[in-house]
């Protein structure tokens, strides 16, 4: 995505425009006004007397509001300083744009202001794949409004553009002929409304409040969200920036699915993934639990409601399976894509049980655990009844929808991510190692829930027996003897896929690693082949497919690292966890507190800054959650009964971290961490290795 593109959003409605506020989408250009995965505006171009404008500045006021200061004339050739145009745009259901024109001249000025508007109603998938539309578009101009409609059988979507000041409306937009007095101004509010219509022209979604009200609510809600979160103070300034950024971004990423009452849960990423992803919502909810339990509660409810109910090959659905992704666009509506919902994820189902247990540990909300007992049991049943595709007692994946299903159903879902040391790719089904860890953890945690809340000690015993058996088999079958680590996967023949990867870190988090092997695993994770100095690489240097900018074969993923840090803590490797936290949080400083989805796996000493992987989505929910989980691991926060254990182990160079008002079953609790500062090395280590000119932080 180009640097100058501006994104603002509200729920799953969002606008991507250029720095002037204009939208000029082509079949494949991903700008526009989107809602329910449909592009409701593909052209929105402002001209003054036929001239395009130049941006003096663009301000993101809030995640749902932007302001553009513009002057007529394009670029360096000519700038008319006598006129200023201000566009202030807030996203609601559609958007509102306050357009203000200022005349700085001593003479009156006559201007023709024009807004070109067009809607191609492309499905997000069509934008990616440049597909042709199958329905028909129509345009109606009446009563000062421009109404653009798309119809295909009973599928109907419409965009309505109107203005508070009278406009001449034609098929291509709105025009204003205005006279502004000396030093005067003119203003209008443009309203762009989107509608997804069902039978009888009724809207598919519930009516929303008027735009102004929605805007006020959004602002009050954001302030409330930040105010409710624990307060962080520390002598590491960039950590405070990162923390604040994470809170605001997490608020922006909340998303109310079409069918979940008024609740919201974390969407996967902005803007292209403003939808429910089982895996991403679960991981982000886990990361955020010490700070807010709302995302976890909603995620459990919504994913529980949508749990698979029958065997359906098109959607890769099974009874008990937790969904992978939901989409709302035309291709989903006509079953040209399977996302209604699509269930092709191998890890979301065990992780669902893991989240339920972790949620109860923090909140003490026994009621939800009792309400969702059948869902949790069905998820645990899925592991045994539907996921053992190799017939060897391990979870494996192979899509049944060969046309539009997902080939790789684990988090490393790119085509080459699951590979042998020598670079060969295994056949299907594939049983990746981290999923076996999740299954082990799900059974152990499920046993706790069964014993404490479902009044079923027999089931609890059975789950623990199964977990112990799985752990023993796993440590036998996945252990790569000549490398002293766990294989990435077992292939269709049960042969080890023997590449060294970050996946072994997730195994520590799940607790499936035999205690006497943990130090070998920690050694690999912090060793030169996996640890770059900024973080742990997805694939170790030296493997055939290693590439420091390969999506899942060499880059560093902050989300991945945050769970590995949690795993290191689980096995007592406090200093190692702190090193991983420090590297990732140092990297965040280079991105003004907003960690990207992934950055390059280059050696830290080589590049001196973390090279961003070129990706379209920012912020990404589980990258936003990563600093939160890293804070948890540095402070060693662990709920035990009705208490919160605090066992800090800070990175060298941090003197003090205080997290105040941590919410949970205990009410609110403060956590204090004191660290070591190496005084003989002078300034704090937190001065960036990559930026020696950075001012020293004062403790």
């Amino acid at each position: 995505m180009a640097e100058d593109q501006v994104q603002i959003l509200h729920g799953n409605t969002f606008v991507v425009s250029d720095a002037q506020g204009d939208i000029e989408a082509s079949a494949t250009d991903p700008s526009g006004l989107f809602s329910l995965d449909t592009r409701f505006l593909s052209r929105w171009v402002l001209t003054v007397n036929g001239d395009r404008l130049t941006a003096l500045s663009t301000d993101d006021l809030h995640y749902f509001e932007s302001r553009f200061f513009l002057v007529p004339g394009s670029g360096t050739v000519y700038v008319d300083a006598k006129t200023t145009v201000i566009r202030q745009r807030a996203v609601t259901e559609g958007f509102r744009e306050q357009l203000t024109v200022l005349n700085h001249d001593v003479k009156p000025v006559e201007l023709t202001i024009r807004l070109d508007a067009a809607a191609d109603f492309a499905d997000l998938f069509e934008v990616k794949d440049a597909l042709e539309k199958k329905g028909t578009r129509s345009i109606l101009t009446a009563g000062g409004q421009l109404v653009m409609t798309y119809e295909r059988e009973s599928f109907r979507r419409a965009t309505t553009v109107s203005s508070t000041e009278p406009a001449e409306v034609d098929d291509g937009g709105l025009q204003f002929s205005i006279l502004i007095e000396p030093h005067g101004s003119w203003s209008t509010e443009l309203d762009v409304r989107v509608a997804s219509l069902g039978p009888g022209g009724r809207p598919l979604t519930a009516q929303t409040p008027p735009a102004d009200e929605a805007r006020r609510e959004a602002l009050a809600d954001l302030e409330q969200w930040v105010a409710n979160a624990p307060r962080l103070t520390c002598d590491w300034d960039s950590l405070i920036t990162t923390y604040q950024r994470s809170l605001v971004d997490l608020a922006a990423l909340r998303f109310s699915p079409l069918i979940a009452r008024a609740d919201s849960l974390p969407a996967a990423g902005l803007p292209w993934f403003m939808t429910i992803f089982g895996r991403d919502s679960i991981f982000t909810s886990l990361q955020a639990l010490p700070f807010t339990s709302e995302p976890a509660r909603t995620t459990l409810r919504v994913l529980g409601d949508w749990q698979g109910n029958r065997v359906d090959d098109f959607r890769d659905e099974d009874p008990g399976r937790i969904l992978h992704e939901v989409r709302y666009g035309e291709l989903t509506a006509f079953q040209e894509r399977p996302h209604s919902p699509y269930y092709g994820s191998v890890d979301a189902t065990p992780l669902y049980v893991v989240l339920m247990d972790e949620y109860e540990r923090w909140t003490g909300d026994a009621q939800l655990v009792r309400d969702l007992e059948m869902e949790a049991r069905a998820a645990l049943r899925w592991i045994d009844d539907y996921a053992d595709l190799q017939g060897n007692g391990y979870i494996a994946y192979q899509r049944r929808n060969e046309e539009t299903g997902l080939e790789n159903q684990c988090w490393k879902d790119s085509w080459d991510s699951i590979c042998y040391r020598d670079g060969r790719l295994p056949g299907f089904p594939r049983a990746t190692c981290e999923v076996q860890g999740y299954a082990y953890d799900a059974k152990m945690r499920g046993a706790r829930l069964a014993r404490l809340f479902w009044n079923d000690a027999t089931y609890a015993d059975e789950l623990e027996r199964q977990a112990a058996d799985l752990k023993a088999r796993f440590n036998r079958d996945f252990w790569v003897e000549d490398g002293q680590y766990y294989a990435l996967a077992l292939d269709a023949d049960g042969t080890q896929v023997d590449a060294l990867t970050s996946n072994i870190g997730h195994l520590l988090w799940s607790g499936i690693v035999d205690a006497d092997r943990a130090s070998a695993i920690a050694g690999h994770l912090l060793g030169p082949r996996l640890f770059s100095g900024w973080g742990i690489r997805t694939l170790a240097e030296g493997e055939a497919r290693y590439n420091p900018i390969g999506y899942h074969v060499g880059t560093v993923w902050p989300f991945d690292n945050s769970f590995i840090a949690w795993g290191l803590r689980r096995y007592g490797f406090k200093a190692e966890a702190a090193r991983v936290a420090a590297g990732n949080l140092d990297a965040a400083d280079f991105y003004h507190g907003r960690l990207p989805e992934a950055f390059g796996g280059y050696e830290r000493a080589l590049t001196r800054y973390p090279v961003q992987y070129p990706t379209a989505c920012s912020p990404q929910a589980w990258s936003t959650g990563a600093p939160l989980l890293l804070l948890r691991t540095m402070l060693g926060l662990e709920p035990v009964g009705d208490h919160l254990i605090v066992d800090p182990a800070l990175p060298v160079g941090i003197g003090r971290i205080e997290l105040l008002d941590i919410p949970g079953r205990w009410g609110r609790i403060d956590a204090f961490g004191r660290g070591l500062v190496e005084v003989n090395r002078g300034p704090k280590l937190r001065n960036q290795l990559g930026d020696p000119t950075r001012p020293h932080h004062l403790g």
Binding site: R156, P199, L204, L258, F314, E317, A333, F334
Partner: protein
């Protein structure tokens, strides 16, 4: 007897759905068949099921053509896809519509994906 008729007969006989143990609610299906509309009211009481032909108000009302209803029940199309393309409407508490899918027959779905988009038959492609 079509899938819709079989479905309401079957859940009436089933009497209880364990996957709906947490739910007590009323749902009504308004099934449009040409000029006539058939009403089926399903009362769920902690998973216990009772079906009547009643038009009385319910917390969730699903309005759908009979052919589309047949396809959703038999798994040829998903309820969400039908909703998105305007082939069905839900009034009231939409979460109940999601949960109501647990009443559908559990046998292996016959979803033909893209070849089935609307009630009444397969399309090309």
């Amino acid at each position: 007897m079509d899938a819709t008729a079989e479905f309401f007969d079957e859940i009436s006989q089933r009497g209880h759905e364990p996957m709906l143990k947490r739910l007590s609610a009323t749902l009504r299906w308004d099934i449009i068949d040409g000029d006539t509309t058939e009403h089926r009211l399903v009362r769920i009481d902690h998973g216990d099921l009772r079906v009547t032909m009643s038009e009385e108000p319910a917390e969730c009302v699903i309005i759908v053509d009979r052919a589309v209803c047949n396809d959703v029940i038999s798994g040829r199309t998903s309820a969400l896809a039908a909703l998105l393309r305007g082939a069905a409407t839900v009034e009231g508490d939409t979460e109940l519509m999601v949960l109501a899918q647990r009443l559908f027959p559990r046998r292996r779905g016959v979803s033909a994906g893209r070849s089935y988009v609307a009630g009444g038959g397969a399309l090309d492609g």
